[in-house]
């Protein structure tokens, strides 16, 4: 063990005396600081904008004045997706999924105000977030740091001298891994501490434990991910005949892992499980609402059936004689059927998303980058699952809002009476303000089991290869 630390100490000393390494470390630190600051500014600005808009829209809803409930249901309201604190670290899909949705009767509107709309096409290459720096650029730093780990020792002849001291190759390997990891952690530790302090400062006291758990998990998975790259770089260096070959191999792998495989698997997922266009999706929903899911129960048929049921239930011969406003009942029934149709189509769409996600998850066995990218987005609540979770909550809220409006109309107005009946503040106040809580850490982790397993598999694979190769290595070629 002592030899491991001696080798690590020597490696650190040598790395610190190399201008290139010092420069790269400074670049990474600057990039991380800039990314974190940019994330903080974006979070702070959006939070303020969202908070102001939320208050304004709530006030508008409450002070909309007396009007018919169905008009209020169409007047609707806006819901804003709260920015999660850790999104300052990883923007995830927030840039693309939109920040607000308009809720009204009969329609499930799309999310609006996607930040990506305000950016140039360069946004497709990713925004500078701290997560991007850690996922893509830090591995590049590690490659530049570790590619000559063994080849340089062999080329310069110091490997012979090292081994002639009775040091095993396994000890040398561990010494180098400890050194590179120490250098890396000394660069990243201040960043993680600042990120944690910033997050807890911005959070309210109730959410601090949840954020702490998420930050700890983020630190663990990022350390494992970067450890995989350290070990992989050392392994490639061990197996390469020259430093040049080692660097070329590692850079090729970096391009494969970070660019080619993620893009290819995303395209593969899209072509295997294509999504319908929004137009086709909407038209299919409208068609099923109009003709019925089975193609037989049209809107007028369903309305006649409902009328019959109510007349029978209340033993009357006219809807005018019903003790409630049948128009409200009809509207709610139409709403319920529309929701049913929407749920069927959404389930189909969700299945396509799930299949695409499954391919993305399984692809993490081909590149560890996809594993860390998905896990990081999940833990910072900027992923697709969180977006879908939020969408589901807003849809439930919309349904509840419309149901209350229709029920009020049915209970408190008479058939044929429309503009005459007006609801007031009491009804608007009965609609509680929308509140959103993200999924728990446990729920998130359970959604990303594949990524966690793949990260572990990568670590086991790389360390097994290192163990095997270090037993075979000789300081001179035979």
């Amino acid at each position: 063990m002592n030899s491991v630390f001696l080798i690590a100490k020597k490696e650190i000393l040598i790395a610190l005396r190399q201008k290139v390494i010092r420069a790269l470390a400074i670049v990474i630190m600057v990039l991380l600081s800039v990314a974190l600051y940019a994330g903080y500014v974006a979070y702070d600005q959006q939070k303020e904008v969202i908070e102001n808009a939320r208050k304004e829209k709530r006030e508008e809803w409450l002070t909309q004045g007396d009007k018919h409930p169905h008009i209020a249901a169409h007047y609707g309201t806006f819901i804003f997706k709260p920015k999660t604190i850790l999104s300052l670290f990883d923007f995830g899909l927030d840039t693309f999924t939109g920040t607000s949705v308009y809720l009204e009767a009969h329609y499930q509107h799309e999310f609006m105000f996607r930040p990506a709309q305000d950016h140039s096409s360069m946004i497709r290459f990713g925004e500078l977030s701290a997560a991007l720096v850690l996922q893509i650029l830090v591995p590049l730093l590690l490659i530049f740091l570790a590619f000559p780990a063994f080849t340089k020792e062999r080329e310069s002849g110091t490997l012979k001298l090292l081994i002639s001291q009775g040091v095993s190759c396994t000890t040398i390997v561990w010494g180098k891994i400890v050194a590179y990891l120490s250098i890396l952690l000394s660069i990243l530790a201040p960043f993680f501490v600042i990120a944690f302090i910033l997050s807890t400062m911005l959070a309210n006291s109730e959410t601090i434990p949840d954020i702490a758990v998420r930050v700890v998990l983020l630190v663990i998975i990022y350390v494992v991910y970067l450890l995989i790259f350290v070990a992989f770089s050392v392994w490639v260096s061990m197996r390469s005949s020259t430093s040049k070959n080692a660097l070329l191999t590692l850079l090729t792998c970096w391009i494969l892992f970070m660019i080619i495989i993620p893009k290819t698997t995303a395209n593969f997922g899209e072509s295997m499980y294509p999504l319908p266009s929004m137009k086709i999706y909407r038209e299919a929903i409208q068609k099923d609402i109009k003709s019925g899911l089975d193609g037989k129960a049209s809107t007028s048929f369903r309305q006649n059936q409902l009328k019959k049921e109510y007349l029978q239930q209340y033993a009357v011969d006219s809807i005018h004689k019903l003790p409630l406003n049948f128009e409200g009942v009809r509207m709610q029934a139409g709403e319920d059927y529309g929701n049913k149709v929407y749920d069927v189509h959404w389930a189909r769409l969700k299945k396509i998303f799930d299949n695409q996600n499954r391919i993305a998850s399984l692809s993490s066995f081909i590149t560890p980058y996809l594993a860390i990218r998905n896990l990081s987005m999940g833990l910072t609540a900027t992923d697709l699952y969180t977006s879908i979770h939020f969408q589901k909550k807003t849809e439930n809220y919309r349904r509840e809002l419309v149901r209350k409006m229709n029920n009020d109309m049915a209970q408190n107005s008479r058939y044929g009476e429309f503009y005459e009946y007006k609801a007031g503040k009491n009804l608007w106040n009965s609609i509680k303000e929308f509140e959103y809580t993200t999924m728990s850490v446990y729920e998130i982790v359970s959604l990303y089991k594949t990524e966690l397993i793949s990260l572990c598999c990568w670590a086991v694979l790389i360390f097994s290869l290192l163990g095997y190769s270090s037993r075979k290595i000789r300081p001179v070629y035979e």
């Binding site: 030899s3 040598i14 002849g157 110091t158 001298l161 081994i163 002639s164």
Partner: protein
Amino acid sequence: MLEAIDLTKRYGDFTALQSLNLTINEGEIFCLLGANGAGKSTTINLFLNFIGATSGSAKINDLDVTKHARETKQLLSYIPENLMLYKNLTGLENLQFFCGLGGKHQSKGELEELLEQSGLQTDFINRRVDNYSKGMRQKVGIALARARGSKVLLLDEPTSGLDPKASNEFSELLLSMKEKGVATLMATHDLFRAKDTGTHIGIMKEGRLLEKFESQEVSFRDLEKLYLKHMHN
């Protein structure tokens, strides 16, 4: 101390070393002479367990170097033709590092003294090795062997490329270690240095040890004639 028993190394059809039998006792300096490819470096690499023997065995202090790789390496020091140290570290830092690896922790003062005793100029001790000449690096190698208290020295053409003064200083250091009972195996092309420093001389050609004798038995001129005779045959 050092023993080769029918030590053989083959690479496919090519025989790099054929049935070498050799014993080097404490306080002996055995110089292996021979042209390039004669098997000198192969012999040293086999004793270092850098390469595996095809047959036979190499022993240090009665321990097989393959079976007791770690223990035998604790007993030896190795100085190659061009001792490469870590360029970004000073001579003293290199010495501290390699001594530490061998489990010999000595104070900075002791190591500085050893470097001075090994002939390294005082003002170079704390300079980075990339400013060192080859001779200076070889002196750090000797200081390392001394600091480790090595019982065995394996030297692969250590004076090759050194100027006569540096070469002479190196020989002096070897002789002082010989006095302390260190067994040395040195591969060299330098007949003069072999005769002057070695206690025993062996002539190798095409993987075979053709002849071995005590250096006192021959004059420098006879050694030269003998060497050339074997090389021309």
